[in-house]
């Protein structure tokens, strides 16, 4: 299954790109598991996801928790806590 990933703010800076299309292994079922798998993909990913507790995620532009299933996801985004307003 291919999924489009998007990164924002310092997650984007650390990963080094704003978006990419990935194919996650079949065992990766949740947002939390996806972060763990991403962290294993190289130094820049390890740095971006070194503290998954502070990273927020959205599936198809809705906030989700780390235990959310990525099964139906078209687009998954990772970003730091929001600081708008």
């Amino acid at each position: 299954m291919t999924t489009r990933l998007r990164y924002f703010a310092w997650v984007r800076e650390r990963v080094g790109k704003p978006e990419e299309v990935i194919e996650a292994p079949a065992g990766v079922r949740t947002v939390g598991e996806l972060m763990a798998w991403l962290a294993s993909r190289g130094e820049e990913y390890a740095h971006a996801f070194e503290n998954p507790n502070v990273i927020r995620a959205a599936i198809d532009q809705r906030h989700v928790r780390p235990d959310a299933s990525i099964k139906e996801a078209g687009e998954i985004a990772f970003f730091p806590p929001m600081t708008g307003g």
Binding site: W10, F79, M82, T83, G84, G85
Partner: protein, 161 residues
């Protein structure tokens, strides 16, 4: 209810935006306007500018959902939200929330609710530019506490919602 959400790079005229909401009507008794302005310092250090990054599509959807939520909680006659992105220098407006109602309680409560949500849930990220470089602004616990006021009143809501 008249709802307007605008995300834009350009500065805006807060007075004109507010006037749009009330022009030609006589049912509005109270208008609350919140303007969030770029200060010349961030946690004590002088800054040259802020840069706001955002998630196009999600930001609009999130804000619109919260405007609808506000309209279910309070008897509002109109809401306008303008949020800038890109580079903003001290003294310029960042965000504007305008709420109109027959009575002041609803207008005040809805404006505070929307600001608390914009601060903690809308996908925007601020970066400050100082003489020592660019750094991302950390989210503050105070903003999370402020936003939690509104969910505490509705037990059972999903935490990530």
């Amino acid at each position: 209810m008249k709802a307007t959400v605008r995300l834009q790079r350009e500065p805006f005229d807060a007075a004109a935006v507010t006037a749009e909401l009330t022009r030609g009507r006589t049912d509005v008794g109270a208008v609350v306007t919140f303007a969030g302005i770029c200060r010349g310092d961030e946690r004590g250090e002088p800054i040259a500018a802020l840069t706001l990054e955002y998630y196009p599509g999600m930001a609009e959807a999130e804000i619109e959902r919260h405007v609808k939520e506000a309209a279910t909680r309070w008897p509002l006659l109109g809401v306008t939200i303008v949020h800038r992105h890109g580079r903003i220098v001290p003294g310029e407006d960042i965000v504007l929330v305008v709420t109109a109602s027959s009575h002041r309680e609803a207008a005040f409560a809805a404006a505070e609710f929307l600001m608390d949500y914009l601060k903690t849930r809308a996908p925007f990220w601020k970066q400050v530019e100082t003489t020592s470089g660019k750094t991302w602004v950390d989210a503050t616990a105070a903003d999370d506490v402020a936003a939690a006021r509104w969910t505490a009143r509705r037990p059972g809501r999903e935490a990530a919602e």
